[in-house]
């Protein structure tokens, strides 16, 4: 029996850290429920958005201006007579997609830069860390807004790139500090003595040991990016107004009349953002708790 187990999860099997992480995570019932709800929600949004034609959705129809929920549309219409429900679905899909893209890009940059800094140390580390320190001290939100307004051919892709430019430093710092202590371990020096190349050690030996930490970091980043994207769209510096977005829907509430009278325009989008943020953050924090030996549920 024990032999079999060793075979399955031996040195060539899955990384042990991840297995422990997921085993602990499964014990947290609320986190598991959040995960199921979130996965179901994302699948629903992506599948449902396939059946919605964005052009018909965004066509202005003044006859249905501020039509209340239940009359013609399930959740009513906004000041252009556009269906709120359809906009919610496309908007949520866009938010999830953008946040995911930013998380992956910043994650990749962060991991590569962090590993290089932490593994090599010395002057490479010193120079890159000074650049990161600088990024940390500048007001990145303001710079993102300025760049968004300066870029000539503005699209979803440029938006993702601008955001990624300013948001990769947190992951890089975290990976660096972990890689720094990891690369002083015996297994790294043993591997070096055997003549393994630096990049092979980084990729195949150091990186897997950071995997559970990275899953936590990326999940929390994902939540943060949903917040930043919807926030910027809310201010009017995110997605272009022709693209349905949760932030744009919420921003209609800047008009006091809409805020007071037509709650169905902005409230569902706000609650949807809230739901996504709470669910993703809860999963992230539960993962972090699973990682922390002191806080394990037993």
């Amino acid at each position: 029996m024990s032999y079999k187990k060793k075979k399955r999860y031996g040195s060539k099997g899955r990384p042990r850290g991840l297995k422990v992480l997921f085993r602990e995570f499964k014990k947290d019932k609320i986190a598991m429920m959040s995960l199921y709800l979130l996965v179901f929600f994302i699948l629903f949004v992506f599948i449902a958005s396939l059946f919605i034609d964005q052009e018909t959705l965004m066509r202005i129809n003044l006859y249905d201006r501020y039509s209340p929920p239940g009359e013609k549309y399930l959740l009513g219409a906004d000041q252009g007579g556009k269906d709120i429900f359809g906009q919610l679905i496309i908007g949520a899909r866009n938010s999830v997609f953008i946040a995911l893209a930013i998380t992956l890009i910043t994650g990749l940059i962060g991991i590569v830069v962090g590993l290089i800094c932490g593994y090599f140390g010395g002057w490479v580390d010193y120079i890159i860390m000074r650049i990161i320190d600088f990024f940390v001290t500048i007001p990145s939100l303001l710079f993102i807004i300025v760049f968004v307004t300066l870029v000539p051919k503005y699209s979803v892709a440029t938006f993702i790139l601008i955001m990624s430019m300013f948001l990769w430093t947190g992951t890089a710092r975290l990976v660096r500090s972990k890689a720094l202590s990891e690369s002083k371990r015996d297994y790294v020096s043993a591997s070096k003595t055997l003549g393994t190349g630096d990049f092979t050690i980084m990729r195949r030996e150091v990186a897997p040991n950071l995997s559970s930490l990275l899953i936590v970091e990326l999940t929390l980043n994902f939540a943060g990016n949903v917040g930043i994207e919807t926030g910027l769209s809310y201010l009017g510096f995110g997605l272009p107004p022709t693209t349905p977005s949760l932030g744009t829907l919420v921003s209609y509430a800047n008009n006091p009349a809409v805020l007071q009278e037509y709650w169905w325009v902005w409230l569902p989008a706000s609650l949807l953002i809230l739901f996504m943020m709470l669910a993703i953050n809860y999963i992230g924090q539960a993962l972090r708790r699973s990682l922390d030996v002191k806080q394990r549920l037993g």
Binding site: F143, Y234, L274, L278
Partner: protein, 320 residues
């Protein structure tokens, strides 16, 4: 001690220079020039060229940069074309509003966070603790603009407990008691929102500090000496746990600055954040540059403040 502060101040200089270069490059990338809003179609192109030469816009970039820095150091950031007045005096007025908002917010933040953190740490795993942990999770996860809007909707419009915009009652005479009260009243709702959003960090830090301290040797010694539990908490544990909280102050200020863009826009509070959003929409580039520079400077100042406080309260981390 002083050595640490001087070192830390010196460290700020290259950061400030890098920031100013970035802002300068950004300013050069922006369309338009200082004459935007002053030129009519009848203006002679030769005259524009003359003005450009006079202002040194044809000089090489490094020369322009040095002059720009010199002017900025003297408080001259140019003129805002939408407001038709000096950027420095325009921002100065708004900065005071933002300052008062942040001031009230920070006080409220600590008033809420410190008792909650202490209670959660002291009565760990109790129902109260679970509630506080849940509260700090919600405030951590909720985006600034969503909470602000919900508060504005509930407390401003539905319950009408607070005014829904502006910084002061228009009828109030300046510097009477009513005026001061009215200003405070206008600040209160945005400040409460602000404070609630910022409590998470302080609560979590304080809670885990206290929980960690419970198992420390000095606590066990005190207990075996027969010191009552209450006294151990007030005289021993809390004093130690407050150390990192003191250092949080600088970071709190930094965090408040970023949030001010959302809060001030939503509550219609005329501070720097609202001015920034307005200037971006109006493409008023001289104001934008000055604001980015100022925000960056204040952010640096915030982290400096944190480091200095930390080195005062905790001698172990002083730079040698």
């Amino acid at each position: 001690m002083w050595k640490t502060i001087v070192r830390r101040l010196l460290l700020m200089i290259p950061q400030l220079i890098a920031l100013s270069i970035l802002v300068f490059v950004m300013a050069k990338m922006m369309p338009g020039d200082p004459f935007t809003g002053m030129i009519t179609p009848d203006t002679d192109p030769a005259r524009i060229e003359e003005l450009k030469e006079e202002l040194g816009l044809n000089d090489p970039l490094p020369v322009q940069y040095v002059r720009w820095v010199k002017n900025a150091l003297q408080g001259d950031f140019g003129k805002s074309y939408t407001f038709q007045r000096d950027v420095a005096s325009l921002i100065g007025e708004r900065a005071m509003n933002t300052f008062w908002l942040s001031f009230v917010s920070v006080i409220l933040l600590y008033l809420i966070a410190i008792p909650l953190g202490i209670l959660a740490g002291r009565y760990q795993q109790s129902r109260l603790d679970k509630f506080i942990v849940f509260y700090s999770f919600i405030t951590y996860a909720i985006p600034t603009f969503v909470l602000s809007l919900l508060f504005l909707y509930i407390f401003g419009y539905k319950l009408q407990w607070f005014p829904t915009g502006g910084s002061v009652d228009v009828e109030a005479e300046p510097w009477t008691l009513r005026y001061i009260w009215s200003r405070f009243y206008h600040i209160l709702l945005p400040a409460i929102t602000y404070a609630i959003l910022g409590t998470t960090g302080v609560i979590q830090y304080l809670r885990s500090e206290i929980i960690d301290a419970k198992t420390m040797d000095y606590v066990r010694t005190a207990r075996s000496k027969g010191v009552p539990m209450r006294k151990i908490y007030t005289k021993h544990i809390f004093r130690n746990s407050f150390i990192p909280i003191a250092a949080f102050l600088g970071f709190t200020i930094t965090g408040l600055l970023g949030g001010s863009i959302f809060i001030e826009t939503i509550f219609g509070y005329p501070g720097m954040g609202q001015l920034f959003v307005y200037s971006i929409a109006a493409r008023d580039y001289s104001v934008i540059c000055a604001l980015v520079m100022l925000y960056g400077f204040l952010t640096l100042l915030g982290s400096l403040l944190s480091d200095i406080i930390l080195s005062i309260v905790d001698p172990r981390i002083r730079i040698e």
